[in-house]
Amino acid sequence: MIVLRIIGIGSPSGDDQAGWLVARELQRMRLIERLPCRTSIIALDRPGVGLLQHLTGVDLLVLVDAMRSGAPPGTIHRIENLQCIEPDRSVSSHGMGVASALELGRALGALPPSVIVYAIECDSMMADSGPTGLVVAAASALAGTIARDLQQKFAVSACPGLAS
């Protein structure tokens, strides 16, 4: 059976919670029960290189994070070709970014065969503040998109409350 892992990455700082919001929404939708694969949904707080620990034995990884690219806040990005992600140069013992962790995973041959990265363009990343409305709405929409995409991928008919 295919092992699917959905990971929402974030921190308590404002819109940086985007990945967590998506993970939470997918859990609320009870997506795990609807897919014919071994699915797990987890939320991680800035895992750095520890992200690689969560990729062992995974066939399909769906990663959701916040992003700042200059696009309007709430914009949803979908990245299937990881080569497009430039690892940040501030690789550190304090905080390796997701892009660098994925690059390290690739160098070590530790990435799952299939990886899809979604990112939500964020606005405010104030410490200990809540996410902005645009990002909350985008997270909800992205959860729906991910659910629909996975349903389609695994040819599962839509169920009420799943991708709504």
Binding site: G50, S92, A107
Partner: protein, 442 residues
């Protein structure tokens, strides 16, 4: 970040090299280095650190003592346990709380997890690529994946050990004044012990691997300062010692060590008897090697340099030694694990002052709190290892550059400065390549 092109002029024999490390965003503890060399002499060398702990000291005022462990854990994402343990040591000192042996043992185990995790990240992501000429750990991974995989396995074990005791590995939440909020299940401890035992071959291999790495021979005179303890290699408790014979309690720290503001830095720099001093793994081992288990002392004698060492480039080897030690120590301490009747003792706050310290992965971390009768924080003071090492790093850079040779290319000087700074594993060493180099030739 891209380095700007060197700026040069060809007038005269004199050569001015100026190395600037710009402020770094998104790292805990932002820093910058400014170096100017004129006519073969170092004209200016100043390490600038912009640190957040001072803001935390103010933010703690008015908060209940119960909030402190979780708040100080936020100061540093890589050594939250150190901040938590120093804080509870200080507050328990303030309130006269005696925690039971179970709590002390579990705090030591928790702290072992942090040493393993922090040291493994530093060795594999930051330090080792320097010595093999790789620009990053990612580049090293492509050619030596087995080495990095081993490092990440050990780092993951450290994370999981923190999670076992702390509830989660980033900003653990179970530490409280008086003990822990919860105790781990016996079955989880048994499973962890199996993993610790399995990891000992990896950690011994790590020790042998770091011992075989050729490092510069750069001996310098400095005073080592670290916790000491009559029975154990100091981690979570002890008295403050130095290799000149100093032996004082945490309450005497401020009488022995002074902090002063530097013009070029927002951090305070510490001095001991009018000079910089070293804290961190090398200082710990210099002062406490006889507290290591005999087999580990034997391994050091077999493969390592001799200690005490005055060569900061031995720091990576010492970190590997401490990883190996921490894995064996956690395994030993968990051998007869049984859940306690209660994971914490009762605490009655009072108006008081308390002092506490512990050995963060980067060195001595000292806290002082003044509280009111309800246990609210009236004043807090936190002296982290990075600011204690600041003067020593500047002195080391000056001596190391002279020893290395100022005639080297600007790029080589920059890389050497990075390597020297990384020996201390300060927060500012986060970026793998963080020096911005501008050159003037006069």
């Amino acid at each position: 970040m891209a380095d700007p092109p060197p700026r040069a002029s060809a007038h005269g024999q004199g050569r001015t090299v100026q190395i600037d490390v710009p402020a770094l965003a998104r790292v805990e503890g932002e820093g910058a280095l400014r170096l100017r060399i004129r006519d073969g002499e170092i004209e200016e060398l100043a390490l600038r650190i912009y640190e957040p702990p001072r803001l935390f000291e103010k933010a703690l005022e008015g908060r209940s003592y119960e909030e402190v462990p979780d708040m100080v854990a936020r100061i540093c994402g890589i050594c939250p346990v150190a901040y938590q343990i120093s804080a509870v040591n200080a507050l328990e000192n303030a309130f006269g709380v005696e925690v039971d042996p179970w709590v002390q043992t579990m705090r030591r185990v928790l702290y072992c997890g942090e040493w393993i995790e922090s040291h493994c990240l530093h060795i594999h992501l930051l330090a080792a690529p320097d010595y093999f000429g790789y620009e990053s750990a990612i580049a090293m991974s492509r050619e030596h994946p087995e080495v990095v995989r081993r490092g990440l396995r050990l780092q993951g074990l450290g994370n999981d050990l923190i999670r076992l005791l702390g509830g989660r590995s980033v900003h653990p939440v179970s530490v409280r004044v008086g003990g822990f909020h919860r105790a781990p299940e016996t079955a989880d401890v048994v499973a962890m012990r199996r993993r610790l035992q399995d990891a000992l071959s990896d950690s011994e291999a790590l020790v042998r691997w770091t011992a075989a790495i050729a490092v510069p021979s750069d001996r310098q005179n400095f005073v080592s300062v670290a916790l000491r303890h009559d029975q154990e290699y100091p981690i979570h408790q002890g008295y403050i010692g130095a290799d000149d014979g100093l032996a004082v309690g945490p309450e005497d720290f401020e009488r022995q060590f002074s902090e002063h503001q530097l013009v070029h830095s927002t951090a305070l720099a510490s001095q001991y008897r009018g000079a910089g001093y070293l804290v961190g793994p090398l200082a710990r081992l210099n002062l406490n090697r006889e507290r290591l288990p005999a087999p580990l002392q034997g391994l050091i004698g077999e493969v390592g340099p001799s200690f005490p060492s005055s060569n900061m480039f031995n720091s990576m080897f010492v970190r590997a030694i401490e990883v190996h030690f921490a894995i064996a120590e956690a395994n030993r301490l968990l051998e007869h694990y049984a859940p306690p009747r209660a994971p914490a003792v009762g605490v009655t706050p009072c108006a008081s002052i308390g002092y506490g310290c512990s050995e963060a992965p980067r060195g001595l971390l000292w806290h002082r709190y003044r509280t009111d009768a309800q246990g609210r924080i009236l004043a807090a003071r936190i002296v982290p290892p990075t600011s204690q090492n600041q003067a020593r790093i500047e002195e080391d850079l000056r001596l190391s550059l002279l020893s290395f040779g100022l005639e080297h290319s600007d790029e080589d000087l920059r890389l050497h400065c990075e390597k020297v700074i990384r020996n201390y594993d300060p927060c500012i060493s986060c970026a793998t390549h963080f020096l911005r180099l501008t050159t003037e030739r006069l």
